[in-house]
């Protein structure tokens, strides 16, 4: 007789998968700072990271190993997907600790799962509900490796957008814990036509000399797409050829889809990718029905896994969960110092991926405005004079990186941070004065279209760390 559960949860509540076409998912790893090379790249290590190996044909865990080799591509050069596990946790009474449930805790026949995924990028643009691409597994409780077919009213007959697989992992005597796995799609591009269309709707003439894959020496074959799924014919949708310029209902900036410049704006090529996000639901249909859900998302692979951006989803969620304010006692001095160091480390890791000279708005050769930068955006959005952000002479990438590394090094001495005044506040993102544009983080835009800031909570951590009158090394002595 199993004890009756009081509550269940799916953890983590949000899991992010990464696309990849290899049948072998990426092994688990940690990213750590090497104390002997504190300013170097973070090290990828699987020494203490457990990888759960699954036989998809049976749905059973075949092994759980530590220290497996971590390669981001398989031997055939295919990217290994990141396929997260969602765990079923529960507790039997209000005073119990939450625990990862096993088959001994739950009658597996009573456990039912459902996955609902969506890719609504085209719908976000066109506003046509028929452009929504949705996949629904319906309720199930077997252990099959279930394909998630994205369906859309504007797809060609019989066509679907593959959005990955879901599987209820079969608990065994050896590996009794209850898990669910989402394996994302391959990371392919799907289209509306096998041939390249120009912005005016006519087809791109072939140049057979340049394009040996040319079909019939008449039209240029579109090498980007894996399959044509979208019906762009008279009875279909408007995604291929959809055009937008700018406007308050659009994203900031607008026109962020594959296409080409046309007479009235940016013309969509009708591409679709196999990214998606959605909800995993579980129901325990016992005497009393218990339910829980978790969110998943599928994004592109991490091509710089040894560097972290200055502001991440983690920072957003932390702020949502804990608020922006920090009270005395929430963190120790050492923790605040470490948090500050981590932000600065991420700053120089971010700089490592930037072309600071171009992003500052420097002239490159004879060209004064070479790329899409905040400088161009300041002019485009507000008619501010086109003017580089920092003095042009001081933005060499290695120098800027070295400067931030020296700040990081100085912080590791234990002295409180001293630079809070140059960290941009959340309400200064539109400050286009010379001083305002030079605040940190510099040269980058946020999703709101204006200058990037740290989250308020990130900034508050630095401010709190600045309040000390003692060195952290002194206190440890």
């Amino acid at each position: 007789m199993k004890r009756e559960l009081k509550e269940i949860r799916l953890l983590p509540p949000l899991a992010i998968s990464r696309l990849g076409s290899s049948p072998e998912p990426l092994n688990n790893y940690d990213v750590v700072v090497d104390p002997k090379d504190p300013l170097g790249f973070r090290q990828i290590t699987s020494a203490n990271a457990q990888t759960i190996l699954v036989d998809t044909s049976t749905g059973e865990v075949s092994d759980i190993c530590e220290g497996l080799e971590v390669t981001f591509k398989d031997e055939e050069g295919r990217v290994r997907p990141v396929a997260p596990f969602i765990e079923l946790w529960g507790r039997f009474g209000d005073d119990d600790e939450w625990s990862h449930l096993t088959r001994d805790d739950v009658d597996l026949d009573q456990l039912h799962w459902r996955a609902r995924l969506g890719n609504v990028k085209a719908f976000r643009r066109t506003g046509d509900v028929k452009d929504r691409i949705l996949a629904d597994s319906e309720w199930f409780n077997d252990h099959a490796f279930r394909e998630m077919h994205g369906k859309c009213d504007n797809f060609l007959p019989g066509k679907v957008l593959p959005l990955g697989h879901v599987q209820f992992i079969k608990p065994t005597e050896q590996f009794p814990h209850i898990r669910f796995r989402y394996t994302p799609a391959e990371g392919k591009v799907y289209g509306s036509n096998w041939f390249v269309k120009k912005a005016d709707g006519s087809y791109q003439p072939a140049n057979s000399a340049d394009d040996p894959t040319d079909s019939g020496s008449y039209l240029q074959h579109d090498l980007n797409i894996a399959d044509v799924v979208y019906n762009s014919g008279p009875d279909g949708g408007k995604w291929a050829g959809y055009t937008e310029s700018s406007g308050s209902a659009l994203t900031i900036p607008a026109q962020i889809y594959a296409g080409q410049s046309g007479a009235n704006g940016w013309v969509s090529s009708g591409y679709l990718d196999d990214e998606c996000d959605g909800i995993i639901e579980v129901e325990l249909r016992g005497k009393q029905k218990l339910s829980a859900f978790s969110r998943i998302g599928a994004g592109p692979p991490a091509y710089a896994p040894d560097s972290f951006p200055i502001r991440t989803v983690f920072d957003e969620l932390e702020q949502v969960l804990l608020g922006w304010q920090i009270d005395d006692g929430d963190y120790t001095d050492e923790e605040l110092q470490h948090e500050t160091e981590e932000i600065i480390r991420r700053a120089f890791e971010t700089i490592r991926l930037m072309n600071t000279t171009v992003m500052n708005g420097n002239q490159v050769g004879p060209q004064p405005d070479i790329a899409s930068t905040m400088v161009r955006q300041d002019r485009g959005d507000t008619e501010r004079a086109f003017e580089p952000i920092m003095a042009e002479t001081i933005v060499d990438n290695l120098a800027v990186r070295a400067l931030h590394q020296n700040i990081y090094a100085s912080l590791s001495s234990g002295v409180p941070p001293w630079f809070i005044s140059v960290i941009r506040k959340f309400d200064e993102i539109g400050d286009l004065s010379t001083e305002g544009r030079r605040k940190m983080p510099a040269m980058m835009r946020n999703a709101d279209g204006r200058y990037l800031t740290l989250t308020r909570r990130q900034r508050e951590k630095i401010r709190m760390a600045s309040k000390r009158l003692t060195s952290t090394t002194e206190k440890k002595r």
């Binding site: 104390p35 002997k36 090379d37 504190p38 300013l39 170097g40 000279t357 420097n362 002239q363 920092m390 003095a391 042009e392 002479t393 001081i394 933005v395 060499d396 290695l398 120098a399 800027v400 990186r401 070295a402 400067l403 590394q405 020296n406 700040i407 990081y408 090094a409 100085s410 912080l411 590791s412 001495s413 234990g414 002295v415 001293w418 809070i420 005044s421 140059v422 200064e428 001083e435 030079r438 605040k439 940190m440 401010r463 600045s466 309040k467 000390r468 009158l469 003692t470 060195s471 952290t472 090394t473 002194e474 206190k475 440890k476 002595r477």
Partner: protein, 494 residues
Amino acid sequence: MRSRFARHLQWTKRELPREGVPKSARAMLASFGDVAAPAPEEQRAISPEFNGHQYAIFLLHVAAEVEHALMAEYLFAAYTLGGPQVDGKHVDVVRQWQEVILGIAKEEMGHLCSVQNVLRLISGPISFDRDDYPFGAEFYPFSFTLEKLTLDSLAKYVVAEAPLDWSGAEAEEIRKRANESAGSDVNQVATLYHLMIETINNVLLVHDDAFRADTVSMQASWDEWGRGYTHGQRGNETHAAPAATPELIIEVVDSRAAAVDLLQRIAEQGEATDKGGETSHFKRFLNIYRAWSAIAKKDPKFDPSRPVVTNPIVEDSLPEKQARIDASSTATNTITDPTTFYWAHLLNVRYRMLLTGLMHVFHVAGSLASTTKPSARGQLITLIFSEMYKVRALCGLLVTMPVHRGGDPSKHSAGPPFQMPYTLDIPERESDRWRWHRDLLFAARDLLDELAVREKDSPRLAYVLSMRDADTNTMAIIEAMIAKLDKVSAEVTA
């Protein structure tokens, strides 16, 4: 060495005897073209060995030295504030004082660079020199002393930055305290600036053709040096600075009017003139003095400073014997703790790298062609800022470390020695200047290697390793500069 300055320093004498002006000097004043000689009562005495132009340069050198000394003294004082002994109820106010004094030190750095700009404008040699211990009181506001912040030392800073007409009971009390603390009358920086402004503004002393607008490209600009550190109110998180907080003054000058205006603004930032007001160094120091006095009346044991020894120095070799701590302002205290010894030498090397970088950067022009892209000057500025950060961190470390072997830093702690290098001269050839930086970096690396061993079980090890890593990256930049300059040189030769 400083006696070479002192013999020309008549400005410290407030009432100059007009009749004492040598005829040769008067003759010099009248020697500019067809400008009529001023009446004797309008003349100012200057050394018979100077013409007006040389006298202006001389005064600017004195000003640079004073700004440099004050910057070091204020930095030292600021870092002595704090420590575990500060009662929790006073932590916020003490931290505010520290922020205020560090801000003033930063502004002195701005003054120092601005004075170099004026030197460049009138074709004078750049000067980042200053006296070492002891003392040069003839032209310093007071004897150069690195000491922990006390009401006595604070009184000296208040008086040094005070306007010439500061008077009243409070002024008398603080002046008396300052003079007793300094062992002689504290001079006011304002005197020097007023004299400098008067001299440079005098067409008879410094002729129009002395102002070289074509030196602008060799000067420090706010764009390159100010970064985000200008108006304090943007970042006045602790409300330590007054509402209308001051700017970091770094300004390019291209004419007599611009130079005079710049020097006036610097003077105003120091004194409490109408324009300077609450934001002046004088007022800010005075506010701390008043607040400290008020707390000390209620709590006589109040001591917001760490027990940092006065004028800490480090010798080339570790002394076998250690002297007793000498608290007098004219004494030096030799660091004898072996680990602190290496950290203190590291501070001196980094301080030298900072000063050498400053010397170098004023010798590298931002030509029109190179101002649209990263330049050698930009690299140097980055190097200088990096060294500033290191100096800051090292100051923070040294005030927590023992001064004597086996000593207890909670009783007597070391501090940054800020000992001047034997020379600030830099080589003639540009590539050799970068090799100069490389040499200093090698010296720093040797010290860091030693510290990596000594600190292997200390929480300070993280800093040693980080700094060594950062230096490796800086070395790569320097090597690239040397290779590039050598290549250009080889092409020119070919």
